[in-house]
């Protein structure tokens, strides 16, 4: 299972990086979203996968015994998903606004802010 997830994470990272290197803004957004997913899955996987053992204290006992799924990575991912969702929503609106204002979605054409003023 860990191996499979590692493969998925690798593919997500590769696809994400490929996409953010494209010239189209839409593809850049997709790339950023995929990178976010990859990072979330990575946290999930390195937090060690434990199947079917929720972190509940058994009745009559005061502490968790034996093996259990660590709830902290899941809490981290939940937070990261919420933040990522908000930021991505903002990015989509920003990119749409840019498209409406500049009339292009080709990132190669957006170099006005980098150029030195002409003589």
């Amino acid at each position: 299972m860990t191996f499979l997830l590692a493969l998925v994470i690798g593919c997500l990272y590769a696809a994400g990086i490929f996409l953010i290197l494209r010239r189209s803004m839409v593809k850049v957004i997709f790339g950023l979203i995929l990178l976010g997913h990859a990072a979330n899955l990575l946290i999930f996987t390195v937090g060690r996968l434990t199947k079917g053992v929720p972190a509940f204290v058994p009745e009559g006992s005061a502490v968790l015994g034996g093996e259990f799924a660590d709830p902290l990575p899941q809490a981290l991912i939940l937070t990261a998903i919420v933040i990522g969702f908000g930021v991505q929503a903002f990015t989509i609106v920003l990119f749409k606004r840019t498209w409406l204002t500049l009339g292009t979605e080709d990132l190669d054409l957006m170099k006005k802010t980098d150029e030195l003023p002409r003589e």
Partner: protein, 507 residues
């Protein structure tokens, strides 16, 4: 638990409360201004209080919700954090006052002041947190506010700059997230004090090295260290001046702060390799930044490239990793926050007077407003490092530490770069202040400064005078200020002094 510890939540709660209050009064801009001014003033008072408490009584810690240290979220104010909070509160207050004078009605109506407060909340939270994941969250709070502030107004240049800024920052955030996840996988904790305790004993040295490189990349992007700086000169000159000023003063310094925090406190034993990389990066950051600046004719772009160049000096101090060098880096950060922000404010004044940011079309400010010229000269010479201003001491200490560590090449670069800094500051001086404004331009460039009311002029000038005074005072009273920086550096290089107050003395 000592009651005074609870005051360190103020820098986070106060901006949040005032931002919420402002949103309730969304129709009344004057009320929002008053709330902003009051809250920023209180913030500065609280920051000074915290700084005083930390200097006299040592580190303040607070466990959010009363959960004990490695389990809950810890807020920590050691000397470094307290100094950064104080400096950012000063910039926050001056930016609010400066904004009264220059921000247009439209932006004010669209939540400009609440966003400024939320930005301050994110910055303060990042300085205060004692938890790696929590640092990520504060970074996001800071980033999302900065995204909105950057595009507020929606001019084509702003949008274009924002695309670059947003994309690179989201990328860096996902690297941060991945690094935090792997770190948790290795160490089983994300509390900084706990990490400082555990990291020397960890088995997986290689993974730890990879994680520290990932952290270096993500903070390097935020701090605009070479080779991750291209987004900064592409975006920082696009928003209105107060926004550009607060970004340039504080945002990159949060990245530098995180680098210092991680590679002194959190990974004390990982620093050998990282320091080598940082040393080379610092030299290139200084050099490339200043060379970029020399070529520019837009004041804001010139100053943006200078941010990059100055970051190099701070990273240089960190990379040398001796108490003297880190103290120098800390002093440099504070000096730079003040001088750099002030130069941006002054560039706004130049634009008001001459009607342009373009140095070629600008001119004649000295003849018309000598006091503006004096204010510029104080900040520009402070930035370049002319005694007795603050920049001289900052550079002096860092370079002395560089010579002490026998890093002659990088030290040489630092001295050469400081010469070029002076050159590019003199370029602004010659073009904007000294020469006559070209007749063709002067005719159709209205002097918007002259047409401002007295109150407007006062709000425009008083922040600049305040920060220029700070630059002078830090230069004259160098020794007491530097003592604080020195003890902060000693504290940073001794992980025990960070661990014990948070986790308690056990084992």
């Amino acid at each position: 638990m000592n009651q005074i510890n609870q005051i360190i939540i103020i820098p986070v709660l106060l901006p949040l409360a005032s931002a919420i209050a402002m949103i309730f009064f969304r129709r009344s801009v004057p009320l929002q201004r008053i709330i902003g001014l009051v809250s920023s003033t209180l913030m500065l008072a609280a920051a000074v209080w915290i700084l005083g408490a930390v200097i006299s009584g040592g580190m303040l810690t607070m466990q959010a919700g009363g959960w004990r240290a490695p389990f809950g979220i810890t807020l920590v104010a050691d000397l470094l954090s307290a100094v950064m909070i104080a400096a950012s509160a000063l910039i926050g207050l001056t930016t609010v006052i400066y904004s009264f004078a220059v921000i247009d009605k439209e932006r004010e109506k669209f939540f400009y002041y609440p966003l400024l407060q939320l930005l301050m909340m994110g910055i303060n939270g990042a300085f205060l947190t004692g938890d790696v994941f929590n640092l990520y969250v504060w970074f996001e709070v800071m980033l999302i506010s900065s995204f909105v502030l950057l595009v507020l107004g929606g001019t084509p240049a702003q949008l274009e700059g924002a695309i670059k800024y947003v994309t690179i920052n989201l990328l860096s955030s996902s690297v941060f997230l991945a690094a935090a996840g792997i770190l948790y996988g290795i160490a089983g904790t994300l509390n900084m004090a706990d990490l400082a305790r555990i990291s020397p004993q960890l088995e997986q040295k290689e993974l730890l090295a990879i994680v520290s490189i990932l952290f270096m990349i993500t903070f390097g992007v935020k701090a605009a260290v070479f080779p991750f700086f291209f987004w900064l000169p592409a975006s920082y000159h696009t928003p209105p001046i107060p926004v550009a000023a607060i970004f340039s003063g504080l945002l990159t310094k949060v990245g530098v702060y995180a680098l210092i925090r991680f590679f002194t406190t959190v990974f004390p034993h990982e620093s050998g390799f990282i320091n080598g990389v940082l040393l080379v990066a610092s030299a290139l950051t200084m050099l490339i930044g200043v060379l970029g600046a020399v070529a520019q004719y837009d004041i804001r772009k010139l100053l943006s490239f200078h941010i990059v160049s100055q970051i190099g000096y701070m990273i240089f101090g960190l990379a040398l990793h001796s108490p003297l060098a880190i103290a120098g880096a800390l002093f440099y950060i504070v000096h730079n926050i003040i001088a750099k922000t002030n130069l941006f404010y002054i560039s706004g004044m130049i634009e008001r007077i001459t009607g342009t940011f373009d140095l070629k079309k600008s001119g004649g400010v000295y003849a018309r407003y000598p006091f503006v010229a004096v204010l510029f000269l104080v900040s520009a010479l402070a930035l370049a490092g002319i005694p007795p201003l603050s920049g001289f001491w900052a550079k002096f200490v860092v370079i002395k530490a560089g010579l002490g560590a026998e890093e002659y090449i990088v030290t040489g670069v630092a001295i050469f770069v400081s010469l070029l800094t002076l050159f590019s500051m003199m370029k602004i001086w010659n073009e904007a202040f000294w020469k006559e404004q070209p007749q063709t331009v002067a005719a159709d460039a209205p002097n918007r400064y002259a047409s401002m009311g007295t109150a407007g002029k006062l709000m425009l000038v008083s922040p600049v005078i305040l920060l220029a005074l700070a630059s002078i005072l830090f230069g004259i009273f160098f020794e007491p200020v530097f003592r604080i920086a020195e003890s902060a550096a000693v504290q940073l290089l001794d992980p025990e002094s960070y661990i014990t107050p948070i986790l308690g003395r056990k084992e």
